[in-house]
């Protein structure tokens, strides 16, 4: 086999013994004997200068696609623009250099920010209570499902061991339910992309703990029988969990708490414009109706002493009386909360409603323009995203993956592909509100050209991408060799 070409070496491969990227002061106190029997002998880290480090990671950064570079229509991921001011604010010394265990009196600004963010999220979603502790969407799901479990246990209703999850749901939904010890029952979708009401009704018995529902769902559709679905679950004694991944479509349009959801997580890193960071950190606050408030994870921020004429209110932490407990160390991703709070302040009610309207407008515009060239299986007015098939009967060798890879040649990140599972060769497209009509039109032109190529020149799709720094990556070899760190040898 020919030797592999290396585009950018690993940082380890820049090592030159004796180099350092940063120096620290010498010790300014009398030294103590080191515990000789507990010392390590070697530590194979890179030995490089600061300039080596900065150039290496800057060059690596050039190998990424990002929202700051171009359109990123990744369905269900809400890759909207991340305002720069938020980055600056989260780095203010008064936020960045505060220890989580400082006495409450020394962190009133941080506590007030958390309190007001809790209040804002409750208002936006129509719920009574909020915990900011969960670190990400899936973490919030785990919290919500645990709260459902705790609610039934608290009522002595211990037979309820079943959670219903639609077949269009994100994989974290069944995984979260299973982690809570629930049996997961999948509910199929009907021909209009709604939850199948007959199957739902049949599944609603006295072992039902709840339903996890993403609305709009992963087809980008608002559940047409939403109120009946919720009533059905409630009538059977179950609770309805709302997966907030797709909340962007509903800001200022409808409040899930008013629609009857019992508990829901939000993704600050989707809906509220905090960056995804190449996979995190996210933040997944949980909001809930009054009957679940006592079960929220601890701590939450409360006003401990109301304001007086002379003094502002005193903020502090409190533990809900029947809390499921703590789900991480300390209080949650505060640095992410700062960014989301700044975003909400800038948008206000009118701005948030405009977000939802433009996000839905953009998605429907793309749907309208692509529907002639791509089959859209549930083709009706959508919310913030829609799902097309990346496949044609008369071009049988072309798959959604080929379309995704070919889109990279046009400078676009591909849509989510092969999800949701209920659409064959799915291409799930979410433009978000931060894209201009010009960008959408350029994307449409690329998609139309690709559809044409699929029929006239499929090879250019199969061999795509062509203009990216890397060609198609051999995933099978990665799984077979299992080279998972520098120095590993292929098995």
């Amino acid at each position: 086999m020919a030797a592999e070409k290396v585009r950018e070496p690993l940082i380890f491969e820049y090592t030159s013994p004796g180099r350092r990227g940063v120096r620290f002061p010498e010790v300014d106190v009398p030294t103590a004997p080191l515990p000789t029997e507990l010392l390590r002998s070697t530590l194979p880290l890179p030995e490089v200068s600061e300039v080596d480090v900065v150039r290496h990671y800057t060059r690596l950064s050039h190998l990424n696609h990002a929202v700051d570079i171009n359109f990123y229509p990744l369905g269900s991921c809400t890759m909207k623009y991340n305002p720069k001011i938020n980055e600056a604010l989260a780095r203010l010394p008064g936020f960045a250099h505060v220890h989580p265990l400082q006495p409450e009196i020394t962190v009133q600004g941080a506590l007030r920010l958390m309190y007001e963010l809790q209040e804002s999220l409750k208002e936006i979603t129509g719920f009574a209570a909020c915990s900011l502790q969960p670190a990400a969407g899936a973490h919030g799901e785990l919290v919500g499902v645990h709260m459902i479990w705790a609610y039934h246990q608290d009522r002595g209703d211990t037979r309820r061991n079943k959670i219903l999850v639609p077949d269009s749901a994100h994989g974290t939904n069944p995984a979260s339910s299973a982690m809570s010890g629930f049996q997961v029952v999948e509910i199929p979708s009907d021909e209009r992309g709604n939850i199948d009401l007959d199957v739902l009704k049949a599944a609603c018995d006295d072992t039902l703990a709840g339903l996890m529902l993403t609305n709009p769902n992963t087809l980008g559709l608002f559940e047409e029988h939403l109120l009946e679905v919720i009533e059905t679950v409630h009538a059977a004694g179950g609770l309805v969990y709302g997966d907030g991944a797709n909340l962007n479509a509903l800001l200022g349009i409808a409040k899930p708490g008013e629609l009857g959801f019992d508990v829901m997580h939000l993704n600050l890193h989707k809906t509220f414009a905090t960056p995804h960071g190449g996979g995190g950190p996210g933040s997944g606050p949980v909001v809930c109706a009054p009957h679940l408030a006592d079960f929220l994870p601890a701590p939450i921020v409360v006003i401990k002493e109301e304001a007086t004429d002379e003094l502002p209110p005193l903020y502090g932490f409190a533990t809900p009386p029947k809390t499921i407990g703590r789900v991480k160390a300390f209080h949650g991703h505060f640095g992410v909360m700062v960014k989301a709070f700044a975003y909400i302040l800038m948008m206000g009610a009118s701005g948030l409603r405009q977000v939802a309207e433009d996000a839905v407008l953009n998605a429907n515009y793309l749907r309208a323009r692509l529907q002639e060239a791509y089959h859209i299986p549930y083709n009706r007015i959508c919310m913030h995203e829609f799902v097309a098939e990346g496949h044609w009967e008369d071009a049988p060798d072309v798959h959604a993956l080929d379309i995704a890879k070919r889109l990279m040649d046009f400078g676009f990140h591909p849509p989510t592909n092969y999800f949701p599972l209920i659409v064959r060769e799915a291409l799930m497209i979410e433009p978000t509100e931060t894209e201009s009509k010009e960008t959408l039109d350029a994307f449409v032109e690329a998609m139309l050209q690709i559809a044409e190529e699929a029929h006239t020149n499929p090879e250019v799709l199969h061999s795509a991408p062509h203009t990216t720094p890397f060609g198609r990556v051999d995933e099978v070899k990665a799984a077979r060799d299992l080279v998972l760190r520098w120095g590993d040898r292929p098995r």
Binding site: K5, L10, F12, R20, G21, T31, L39, R40, L43, L45, E47, E50, V53, H62, L63, A66, P93, G94, V98, H99, L101, G109, H139, L142, P174, A175, A178, F222, E224, A254, K255, L259, P275, H276, G277, G278, G279, P281, G325, R326, H331, G332, F334, G335, V336, V338, M346, G351, L361, N362, Y365, R367, K405, M408, E435, P469, F470, G471, A478, D481
Partner: protein
């Protein structure tokens, strides 16, 4: 503001869609609930928001305004400027999870380097691309150990010297599962070997901390042997900075190493986002949760990296996945990777030694004060120690705050009456000798 559509464009787009008004797009939303009132403050400009948040930030007293000896799982360290310069690159922080490897090699290669560095630090064979923090990494260790034994060993032994938040988080995570937790009602004075009383053929995992919550360091080699002799696994939760100096858990026989990566270039930020580190033996790689990056080649013969073994994860296995984790701490792994690259083995050892020597200097001075003594005088420690005080530690801490000193963490908050008078004092490279002397002087005035 962040939506570039003009009114004319909106109208043209509505025509393309075939509806008259924006509101027509929301006909599926039940009418009675459509367009609810949203009681939020009116929109603010960037300039006004900057001022509003600057004021909130200034309502906090930082560990830089005060003299801080507060640790207990989160530490005040110096972060070289190059770390944030790299983290501030939009190519990194505005990217998603690297599902499309052809246009995500920057993130993927950095993650591969991170995994390599975690393995180097811990002495383990394989590391994942992160959990949320040190607490949830321990919870995932418990779940993984339970699944390694296919549920036949439902017992997990937690050291009482494991961070109280980690223990609470782990219990919350697995409520509703058959896992039972034991061991952490032992007095924290007990040596780690005391945990062996709980280890039998129903035990999956013994979880200890290194340095432990009280700052103590033990060699777990004998414990690992004894745990293995009974067929169970040993998990060690680490402070990775200490591993710049100390023998890695992998050399002691640990099967799982978790850690809180915050000391590696991540600001305190009132508790997050931090970094959950997770490493194990290669034979358990398919039982490990979280994302994993592997090396491969692309169609042009270039070395490349890609997310691998994803059949373990929720988006493939759904309810049969052992964890639901999806988003992790991507950007925080980059912080740790850049930090470790800048320091290298010698720099990390130097910072670790600064922490060690300064903490020992502080401990010697404080223990010499009348009425004060080290709570665990016989046990080696790293950069944190338990100080027995002549009065309740929370009262002492409150008193020192009046002198603008964060004296430490009053251990009675987590360990009850027996530790009412004990203060957990952390000293890092950020504390000058003058600050330590100030602490000694201030505590010396408390009787």
């Amino acid at each position: 503001m962040y939506s570039p559509l003009t009114q004319a464009q909106r109208q043209a787009m509505l025509e393309q869609i075939g509806v008259a008004r924006i509101a027509d797009l929301f006909q599926d939303v039940p009418e009675a609930y459509r367009y609810p009132a949203l009681r939020l403050p009116p929109p603010m400009t960037e300039m006004e928001v900057a001022e509003e948040l600057r004021a909130l930030a200034e309502d906090n007293e930082t560990v830089r305004d005060l003299v801080s000896f507060l640790g207990a799982g989160a530490y005040n360290h110096y972060v070289p400027a190059a770390v944030d310069a790299i983290l501030s690159r939009g190519e990194f922080y505005t990217a998603y999870t690297p599902y499309q490897p052809e246009i995500s090699q920057g993130t993927l290669q950095a993650l591969f380097e991170y995994q390599s560095m975690v393995c180097a630090l811990t002495g383990m064979e394989v590391a994942n691309a992160s959990h949320y923090d040190g607490a949830t990494a321990v919870a995932e260790a418990a779940v993984m150990a339970y699944h390694i034994f296919r549920g036949k060993r439902p017992k997990v032994v937690l050291s009482p010297a494991l961070h109280p938040h980690y223990r609470e988080t782990t219990r919350t995570y697995t409520q509703g599962s058959p896992i039972v937790y034991v061991g952490d009602d032992l007095p924290p004075d007990a040596a780690p070997e005391a945990l062996l009383d709980w280890v039998d053929d129903t035990t999956a995992l013994v979880m200890v901390q290194y340095p432990d919550f009280f700052g103590r360091i033990y060699d777990f080699t004998a414990l690992a042997e004894a745990v293995h002799a009974r067929g169970a696994l040993l998990g060690v939760a680490v402070n990775p900075l200490a591993l710049g100096l100390l023998k890695p858990p992998g050399e002691m026989g640990a099967d799982i190493v978790t850690g809180e990566g915050q000391p590696l270039g991540i600001p305190l930020s009132f508790g997050g986002p931090y970094l959950g580190m997770f490493a194990t033996r290669k034979k358990y790689v398919r039982k490990m949760a979280g994302r994993l990056v592997g090396q491969t080649v692309d169609s042009r013969g270039q070395r490349a990296f890609v997310l691998t073994l994803s059949a373990r994860e929720q988006h493939i296995r759904r309810e049969r996945a052992t964890s639901n984790i999806c988003s992790n701490q991507g950007l925080m792994t980059l912080a740790a990777t850049v930090y470790l690259s800048l320091l290298g083995q010698h720099g990390l050892r130097h910072v670790a030694e600064l922490n060690y020597h300064k903490a020992h200097y502080a401990a010697r001075q404080l223990a010499a004060l009348p009425g004060y003594r080290l709570r665990f005088p016989e046990t080696p420690f790293f950069n944190e120690f338990a100080l027995h005080c002549p009065a309740p530690a929370d009262e002492i801490a409150a008193h020192l705050l009046e002198h603008d000193i964060l004296a430490g963490y009053p251990l009675g908050q987590a360990y009850g009456e027996a530790f009412r008078d004990v203060l957990l004092v952390a000293v890092t490279e950020m504390n000058t000798r003058a600050e330590i002397d100030l602490l000694v002087e201030a505590l010396g005035e408390v009787h």
